[in-house]
């Protein structure tokens, strides 16, 4: 059964319980942030921040508007990351979520580079991509994702995709009836449907979402041309990585030798 998360921005008050719950469940360390002029922090998704609440202010005829977005992997049906992955490390799970198999991942960074939402981050320490996992580990044990669990207002709900689409459509209709012609259900058709469904009260860009997310031509070409040749690509990349490794090892050696030549190196080594 395909699962989804429905995010009702008309109910989100940006308390960020979800953002903290994500860190807590996934045991992600805190970023050392600074005040950047807005309430938004951390400033971007990163290897230690898989989801975050975004804040955008706008002055309108009806006064100030403050939009709270929810940025993280969208778990697309037509997932650019999956398409470009040269080794098939990225796949859809039985719940329809997008998962990365780190046993297969070679750390080429193509997934992050081609993500239309820019929500995959590449961890330079481990050379691996990181992103929201949809708490697949919780799902597999019968629990809902940590973010949905923490949300106090019901702005984030988890469930069967069909049910959530029904609920989301009804809410959008009711918002439209109340006079909000901009209300939409985002993620219904985008990229053949995204696992994250959004009830938006305004245009997607106010929530850091692209108007028309697409898998880039470049990504499609890459996939089309090179997929049959994947094994060679892997070999070539492997060769490249091996040579890279050789070079870096030599470099490391040289640095170590230099360190040893420094005066006082012996004492500090003790």
């Amino acid at each position: 059964m395909k699962k989804s998360i429905l995010i009702d921005t008309s109910k989100c008050m940006a308390c960020r319980a979800c953002q903290v719950a994500c860190k807590q469940w996934n045991q992600l360390p805190a970023d050392e942030t600074t005040f950047t002029g807005t309430y938004e922090n951390p400033p971007r998704v990163s290897p230690v921040t898989w989801m975050r609440i975004t804040f955008q202010e706008e002055e309108t005829d009806q006064g100030v508007k403050w939009f709270f977005g929810n940025q993280r992997c969208m778990h697309c049906t037509e997932a650019a990351c999956e398409i470009v992955c040269p080794v098939g490390a990225i796949h859809h799970t039985d719940a329809g979520t997008v998962d990365i198999d780190f046993n297969k991942c070679i750390g080429c960074n193509y997934c992050a580079a081609n993500c239309p939402f820019k929500v995959i981050s590449f961890d330079r320490k481990t050379d691996l991509p990181t992103k929201c996992t949809f708490c697949y580990d919780r799902l597999a044990n019968g629990y809902q994702p940590a973010c949905a669990n923490a949300c106090p207002t019901g702005a984030i709900t988890f469930g069967d995709r069909g049910d959530l689409i029904n609920r989301g459509s009804r809410k959008v209709m009711s918002l439209q009836e109340q006079g909000n012609s901009r209300a939409t259900l985002y993620g219904l058709d985008e990229l053949s449907g995204t696992g994250m469904l959004f009830i938006l009260e305004d245009v997607p860009t106010h929530y850091y979402l692209p108007e028309n997310p697409v898998v880039s031509l470049q990504a499609r070409l890459w996939s089309l041309l090179f997929r049959p040749l994947r094994i060679f690509v892997v070999l070539a990349m492997g060769l490249g990585l091996w040579s890279n490794y050789q070079k870096s090892t030599q470099l490391k050696r040289r640095i170590i030798q230099q360190e040893h030549r420094k005066p006082g190196a012996d004492e500090s080594a003790g």
């Binding site: 940006a14 807005t38 922090n41 002055e59 100030v64 403050w66 709270f68 207002t153």
Partner: protein, 785 residues
């Protein structure tokens, strides 16, 4: 709260005023959203556009310190446009009562004003309240006119009093566009229709003013005339800051009360128990001697006897003002030698906090009980302070977190809910009960050995909670018991004044009446009802979920809203979803005469002698204000005590032309001890900032992130600015008034550090409660280059 959190779902219109519910009480939004899903509307009245404003249907900007003008404007709008709930007004309020002919009001002052010595070298107005009374016949019966036409009836006097608060005038005082104000008044006053319910929720943005208590009073009046009290979806709902702050006030964690909201005995007014009992007010409070004697029995057990006035002499009597501001001053004067600061951090949270830290150095000893080493405990190592010059001996007692101990918490809706420890405290940390039990026993031992001037109150104290003090045993003492049989009480109706009962807090009677399955441990959801969940925990008093609930139905017993019946008379009895706040054995017409059971009149008081400033709420400017009072020549609350006259900035000098207000964020809690040490929260709000408008930023050449020094007459601090359109200047009194929004979660201890911004806040308090005026004062900013 008169109502409770879940009950918010029934509101047709909710007014969030002096409160930022989405940010500071996020879970409340669950029920507010439910009301909105039903078509309910949320109004947000706030000096700046908050996350609550972002969720609201109508945002009403308001200049800090002018809530009372706003609320009086709402009352005037309801009266002027006849949007009041007439049947409710006549039957359940004192609108028809005739007022003493000698009562009058002129130019901001009520009858009976006397200028008196304030005890600290200044003067203030203390009213003789005798004219704030009703007319009565020879038999003592209060005179009334149910046509509401007599010029001396409360209703006509109200009309006369509030006439000055037309929306045009209010708009010019508060700096809100007239159209917005009109939309707000029309929306909220639509709940005057009998079937509609309006809820006013508030917090410290209502109370923390020199006229804070009058703000609350105006809310109560507005809710009474619109018929919103005692009804599902209505009420006056104070949202308490901390999960158990309701419990702490119930247990008298305030200087002017003893447990169960009884007044603290005073040296001059209540030298004897008889004198104390003689001051019991009317209504249900006529039973106060039973509550008091039972409290004394709980304190001193067998040593409290009829012969010694139940050990009344053991109970300390208040001698003079002992508020937060006063206590700090006495400390500075060297009058106070030691202080125990329990889960309190006045070095950050107190007004003019730098002075508090300075005064701490006058102490011989200071005990700090907290989960982390806070700023109060480390005042001697604040940057810039030389520890060698400080002789105060400081003790730090590490406390367990609330999740690490058993006990009850009482939420804002008065629900007393038992919780179990989720873990064991680390290291030497112990529960508050463990600490206080050990501390008391050590003090008692010291008295035993050394004696003392008056050791009896300590030595004879009824104190036995086991070797490792048990919270259940404390709970049973609070609940109350029969002193002869030891049997636990099920209701405060069982309390007696003859020493046969003991109870630590009369309103809690029944919450722990059964040792095996106490009511506060119940967790049963209702299957039918209006969301009161009567078998989930226990609400004081006697499990009543909505106070004054007789008013949910008309005098004949028909629910005002047939779709949402809390009480419905069925011809022979009541169909009910709550515990009656009236005598249900009476016929509906009879119980309707005593719908507000706690007042002597049995009615809501639109005109009252209970407040120090006057029978009706009157707008005064904050102590420091950029404007002259528009409605009278009395500039600020004449009944407030001015503790530090030199602390007041003169606006005319031009040195402090901006209005400041202080507030909190979702991500941090109070003085930050629980949150500034938590990396995941520090990450979301890493440092202090102040919020200003783009226009003020342009005046000073500032962009977001620039550092400024914020100064007031009392001090200064440095912080980066957040320049945002969510903050706007106010057009009021013919001036453009700019505002600086100040957060106050930071200090010099903990993981995330920052300056203590309460250093700039004034040490002046409300005339009734002495809560400091943190929410409106004058300041200036200057760019750091």
């Amino acid at each position: 709260m008169t109502n409770h959190w879940i009950d918010y779902q029934h509101s047709d219109v909710m007014m969030n005023i002096g409160l930022n519910t989405a940010e500071n009480h996020p879970v409340s939004m669950k029920w507010i959203q439910k009301a909105k899903d039903r078509g309910g509307k949320l109004i947000c009245v706030d000096p700046r556009f908050t996350r609550t404003a972002a969720m609201s249907d109508l945002y009403v900007p308001i200049r800090p310190g002018t809530n009372l003008a706003f609320l009086n404007g709402m009352i005037q709008y309801a009266l002027e446009n006849d949007l009041v709930h007439h049947e409710y007004l006549i039957n359940y309020t004192n609108a028809a009562y005739l007022v003493n002919e000698a009562y009058h009001f002129e130019d901001g002052m009520f009858s009976g004003a006397r200028l008196m010595d304030d005890g600290i070298g200044g003067e203030k107005v203390v009213y003789d309240r005798t004219t704030w009374s009703y007319q009565s016949d020879e038999a003592g019966q209060v005179l009334s006119d149910e046509t509401l036409e007599d010029p001396r009836c409360v209703y006509q006097l109200m009309k006369q009093h509030f006439r000055r608060y037309d929306l045009q005038t209010v708009s010019e005082i508060i700096g809100c566009p007239l159209e917005t104000l009109q939309a707000c008044a029309a929306l909220f006053c639509s709940t005057g229709k009998p079937e509609k319910a309006g809820n006013i929720m508030y917090a410290m943005g209502i109370t923390q003013f020199t006229h804070g208590a009058e703000n609350v009073r105006a809310i109560a009046i507005l809710q009474a005339i619109l018929g919103n009290m005692g009804r599902p979806g209505g009420g006056v709902n104070a949202q308490r800051g901390q999960s158990n702050v309701q419990g702490s006030t119930d247990m008298a964690m305030l200087y002017h009360i003893i447990p169960g909201y009884m007044p603290v005995p005073s040296e001059s007014l209540h030298p004897t128990l008889e004198a104390y009992h003689a001051t019991s007010p009317g209504g249900y409070w006529a039973n106060r001697p039973k509550f008091m004697n039972s409290l004394l029995k709980a304190f001193w057990g067998e040593h409290a006897t009829p012969g010694n006035d139940y050990a009344y002499d053991y109970l300390p009597k208040i001698d003079k003002e002992r508020s937060h501001i006063a206590t700090s001053k006495y400390m500075g004067d060297g009058e106070i030698k030691g202080m125990v600061c329990w889960a309190d951090n006045p070095a950050v949270g107190g007004p003019t906090a730098a002075r508090k830290r300075k005064n701490s150095a006058k102490l011989d000893w200071l005990v700090s009980v907290d989960i982390f080493e806070n700023e109060t405990a480390t005042f001697w190592k604040e940057p810039g302070v030389n520890p060698e010059e400080i002789d105060t001996e400081v003790f730090l007692l590490p406390a367990a977190l609330h999740m690490e101990r058993d006990g009850s918490i009482s939420n804002s809706g008065r629900w007393i809910q038992w919780r179990y420890a989720a873990g064991t405290p680390p290291g030497d940390c112990h529960s508050d009960l463990w600490i206080v039990d050990r501390l008391f026993r050590a003090v008692r031992d010291a008295y035993q050995v050394d004696g003392g001037v008056f050791p009896d109150p300590i030595l004879k104290m009824n104190w036995d909670y086991g070797e490792d003090a048990s919270s259940a045993r404390v709970a049973m003492e609070i609940n109350g018991y029969d002193t002869r049989t030891g049997e636990l009480l099920t209701s405060f109706a069982q309390l007696q004044d003859d020493g046969s009962t003991a109870a630590g807090c009369w309103i809690y009677a029944g919450y722990y009446a059964n040792e095996e399955e106490p009511a506060c441990q119940r967790r049963i959801r209702e299957t039918e009802g209006v969301g009161n969940h009567p078998e989930w925990a226990y609400a004081w008093p006697i499990n009543r979920r909505i106070l004054y609930n007789r008013c949910s139905a008309d005098p004949a017993g028909n629910s005002w809203n047939p779709d949402l019946p809390l009480f419905q008379w069925n011809g022979s009895g009541w169909n009910r979803y709550d515990v009656p706040d009236f005598n249900a054995a009476l016929l509906p017409e009879e119980s309707a005469r005593n719908a507000f059971i706690m007042t002597g009149e049995g009615r809501a008081r639109l005109f009252s002698n209970g407040m120090v400033e006057g029978p009706f709420p009157e707008h005064y400017e904050p102590w420091e204000s950029p404007l002259a009072n528009r409605v009278s020549s009395v500039q600020f609350n004449p009944c407030s005590t001015v503790w530090y006259p030199d602390d007041r900035a003169d606006y005319a000098s031009g040195a402090f032309p901006l209005v400041a207000t202080t507030y909190r964020l979702s991500e941090h809690y109070q003085t930050g001890m629980m949150t500034r040490n938590m990396p995941w929260l520090v990450e979301t709000m890493p440092e202090l900032f102040v919020e200003i408008s783009p226009t003020l930023a342009a005046d000073h050449g500032l962009v977001s992130g620039d550092q400024v020094v914020v100064s007031s007459q009392r001090g200064e601090f440095q912080a980066p600015v957040c320049v945002t359109p969510r903050v706007k200047s106010f057009q009021a009194g013919g001036k453009t008034i700019e505002m600086v929004g100040i957060l106050w979660h930071w200090g010099y201890a903990g993981l995330s550090k920052g300056p203590v911004t309460n250093d700039v806040a004034p040490s002046i308090g409300d005339a009734n409660t002495t809560i400091p005026e943190y929410k409106a004062f004058l300041c200036q900013i200057r760019k750091v280059v």
